[in-house]
């Protein structure tokens, strides 16, 4: 390589090293790569080089250009980082100071998300029927999410669940994002002796994303295990809940035979509504709202409960779905977008939590 290029490289490097701030750095950049910069000048002079040397010198110049551009950019990043560090160091505040006595806003600006509100309402209503709330983690073993619930590996129902998987752990099994709140059934049965009466509101996940499906959504599970619990109790419990939740004392409720791996007999539950207007309780149409059934003997046995002594029922429903129906909300997607205009419109007053005395 020619000496003049070596010189330019060396001089630019020392100029960059000497540039202590962005202004000095910019002077180096302009002086090298700018319109009348040194490298630009050399590139312009390429035309005057004898034809036999031109190709070689052109290649050398291009190599140098790339090299200098990289060096200049690296220096800029370093200077910016140093400037940020200096700024952060100078911006130190005493964080032990007591905060202000009041928040920037009050309850009139805040609000409870409709999903949270519905969960509080569910808790109040089922709580009055003697249920307590049980919880479990979002990331579950496939045994709890599937096998315990009588959904073996090859079961067609496993495919219907659109499961999200995480990398296999030490046991070689892949954890899943729970596809329903039902694994908490198994957790509860393994964790306490019957009688059991729990609801499980919580986040659930399925690999499905469109106008009516979200990859994360919420369900509430119910589980009752006791002596002498029958399908009649299941119907009574759900009718009592649905009428209280929607505030319609004579809401029509219909039960249809169905199938779920974890219940037997199984049934789907519809409520009466008007398909055209969306009004609940009238109109002669039916809307499917939840699945339920008597807990399958295999599920009881998988969780160590003797089905000769104990029996009960379970149900599950979508929290977004009942929330949308109750409030006439047309679209699922905004639930998760945290658009504060939407939140302000639909959020519940934090100072009026649901209560059986003040009304849910």
């Amino acid at each position: 390589m020619s000496d003049d290029l070596d010189a330019l490289r060396g001089e630019t490097a020392s100029a960059l090293a000497a540039a202590a701030d962005l202004r000095a750095w910019d002077a180096v950049r302009v002086g090298t790569l700018g319109k009348s910069g040194r490298l630009t000048g050399l590139l312009k002079g390429l035309g005057g080089v004898p034809a036999e040397d031109r190709r070689e010198r052109g290649a050398a110049l291009n190599r140098l250009k790339a090299e200098l551009e990289a060096a200049i950019e690296a220096r800029r990043t370093a200077l910016e980082a140093a400037a940020l560090e200096a700024r952060l160091a100078s911006e130190r505040m005493d964080v032990s100071l007591p905060p202000r006595a009041h928040a920037p806003g009050g309850a009139e600006l805040g609000g409870i998300h409709p999903i949270s509100r519905t969960i509080e309402e569910l808790t109040a209503i089922f709580g009055a029927m003697g249920f307590r709330v049980a919880e479990g983690p979002d990331i579950e073993s496939d045994w709890l999410n599937f096998s315990a619930l009588n959904i073996p590996d090859h079961h067609p129902a496993r495919q219907d669940h659109d499961t999200f998987y995480l990398p296999a752990g030490a046991d070689g099994r892949r954890p899943v994002l729970r596809t329903h709140t039902s694994p908490v059934q198994a957790r509860t049965m393994l964790g306490q002796e019957p009688p059991i009466r729990v609801i499980v509101p919580g986040r659930t996940w399925r690999a499905d994303h469109d106008a009516t499906h979200s990859p994360m959504f919420h369900q509430v599970e119910g589980l009752v295990i006791d002596r002498g619990i029958t399908l009649g109790h299941l119907k009574g419990c759900l009718i009592d809940f649905l009428r209280a939740f929607f505030g319609i004392g004579d809401l029509p409720v219909r039960f249809r035979a169905s199938y779920f791996p974890f219940t037997e007999p199984s049934m789907e539950v519809d409520i009466g509504w008007n398909r055209k207007t969306g009004e609940l309780g009238k109109g002669g149409d039916w809307l499917e709202i939840l699945g339920s059934g008597m807990v399958h003997p295999r599920v009881l046995a998988n969780c160590g409960i003797d089905a000769r002594e104990w029996q009960g029922f379970a149900f599950g429903m979508g929290i977004e779905r009942i929330t949308m129906l109750k409030h006439g909300m047309p679209d699922l997607r905004p639930f998760y977008e945290s658009d504060l205009r939407w939140l302000r419109h639909y959020a519940a007053d934090p100072l009026s939590p649901p209560s059986l005395t003040e009304g849910v």
Partner: protein, 823 residues
Amino acid sequence: MKFTLSWLRAHLETEAPLADILATLNTIGLEVEGVEDRGAALASFRIAHVVEAEQHPNADRLRALKVDAGDGKLLSVVCGAPNARAGMKGVVALPGAFIPGTGITLKKGEIRGVASEAMMLSAREMGLGDDHSGIVDLPEDAPLGGSYVRWAGMDDPIIEISVTPNRGDALSVHGVARDLAAAGLGRLKPLVPARVAAAYPAPLRWEIADPRACQWVLGRGIRGLRNGPSPKWLQDWLVAIGQRPINALVDVTNLFTYGLGRPLHVFDVAKVRGGTLTLRMAREGEELAALNGKSYALTAEDGVIADEAGPESLGGIIGGAHSGCDEGTTECFIECAVFDPVRIALSGRRHDIRTDARARFERGIDQALPPAALDLATALMIELCGGEASEVAPAGAEPGWRRSASLRFERLAGLGGAEVAPDEAVGILERLGFTIEARDAERLTVAVPSWRNDIAGAGGLDQAPGLAPERARAAAEGCAAVEPEADLVEEVLRIRGLDRIPPVSLPVAGIVPPPALSPKQARAVLARRVLAARGMLDCVGFGFLEAKVAALFGETPAALRLENPIAADLDQMRPTPVASLLQAAARNAARGYPDAALAELGAAYRDPSPEGQLQVAAGVRTGHTPRHWAEATRAVDAMDAKGDALAVLAALGVPMAAVSVTTDAPGFYHPGRSGVLRQGPKTVLATFGEVHPRVAAALDLTGPAVAFEVFLDAVPEPKRRKKGAPDLPAFQPVRRDFAFLVDAGVSAEAVLRAARGADKALIAEVVLFDRYAGEKLPEGKVSLAIQAVLQPREATLTDAGIEAAAAKIVAAVGKATGAVLRG
């Protein structure tokens, strides 16, 4: 599963109207997904004869017709169709009829002085397409006065039901008919056995080389056949359910798949290489070019049917393209086999092949049907294509499907909550195909039919690891004892209708229920409420986000990265809800709402274990405080976030005196403007602070942004103690102010703590009321002004006492922090 009404009636003798059939299907668990009754809107239209067609006297483009609608009376009809002519047959609508294509109900009228008593219809007017070039022109032999819909074959409604995964038997018209008959909607037409004479030895033989590949298979040849299009009735049924008619042999196999739930396959004998079809597991490297045009690389776990040259079909899932029957086939070989449902399910899933055969085999087919089905199929193929049948070639053996189940009648009420007379229950089970083996007043024992693989099935337990052996055994025995009975209870109640079970409210242990929430759960609800009451909007964010964004907020271990994310920006479980909230705040800012206060009660993921999923109450504030005449607006700052975190902790019962601040907050905070709230040296209760400028920039947040997280799992359960008596001294407190000059690096907390500790008995409270740093002070110094409240208990404080206390405070603060009283 789709079928037409006439197809159903081929299996069910019933007078029930369509509406009753649909309602019953819904009740018994065969949920109706849809009904397409193409003919319903056209039911009143008749085939009519145009007797005369003359030019309209007062309109060039109209004709005056005389039309016979079948009763011999001539109707005057004015018509604009260019093809209207005397002698033609068409479709007529009479007054009162609704015309689907125009949305008008027809009335008698008069057009330019000529009466119009009916209307001749175009295809478009009937809603049957776009053709409006003229009225419908029917062939000569269309029956005068007959229903157009019936003549056109559109009077056969198509019913679609969703069949639950346990009901392989209901993936057939015959099975659906059986359920409907059991529910009282008619009588199931039994299959009439066919007798087929064997004219020659079977052209191919079976060899089951591996019992995993197949349990039982029957085959039979037909030679001398002529394969062509199947008859109209069969084509109509297949077209109605969305199948493409192919040729008679293939269409018959489809008829059996949908009609009887009995998938069949036909090989073209001329194309099979060697005289043997082997049922074996595939070898690594083998491929199958399937009937759907795709090629599949087979594994040693796939069962195949192979000839000398290799796999000809993926048994029970899909046939091969090579040896299928076409119009040139003159000799076929029918395959009628029983495959293992689990193996079919796994193979089908491995190759992602969804076929009607797979759907039926993996749910379980009628295990005793093959001989009768093979006879029926052979007979029908010979009827349609001619030829003669060979002997039956068998291999393997009928699977052992016979089993019994018992029902104590009492359980119908005891489990099902329904009072059902034993005779009614027995009748339902008999109509479903169960046969009675024994019955007394209390109990019934039945044989389970060969098609109900879901009843009294074997095994299937997968008990919790670590269950005590005795408990596990008792539970397994309990299941074995009651499961078949629960199956029978379900059958009786399902067919009888669950709506007939009287609802009973759950009995409660007492009128006043125990609390539904544990103390920890109640704390979470309270945390959310506290934040909302501080002006924050409660949000719900996805728990996963883009790994690159997650990395701004902490560790992104591979164990928390989804293997099958739904989108590239939703692949990593979030390290903190703050990440989701800041993204949300940035979206709001982009919409023109830069001032946001958002909170979320949700999980932060550290690892996939239950303990690694922390419950966090998090919040962010961005932009400025609200504008108001009485209060200046200002940028949100770290103290706002600290205030939020402390408000949550205070509401949850954490004693504020026990909370200290350290400055080692996570890296997504501004290092100089963030802190960690701790209880004792180890327990981290919360973090708070300004968002690091680099993080804010990466999220396109340009304005001020602060955040906090409160770790609810770390908050200890408050001790439930009765409060002691209140402290109500008889003497007035004395308040004294002090202004200290300290090094800027000294924390206010150190000053306050030292002042409080100067005389614990006397000093009731110390608050900081001013902090000043500026030109009037020496470089590197700040002034902290505090007020101490001295509360005497024995006697009123004297001046000397006050001075002594003040001196103690000055000394203690000076000793702890190097502060000096400002002159």
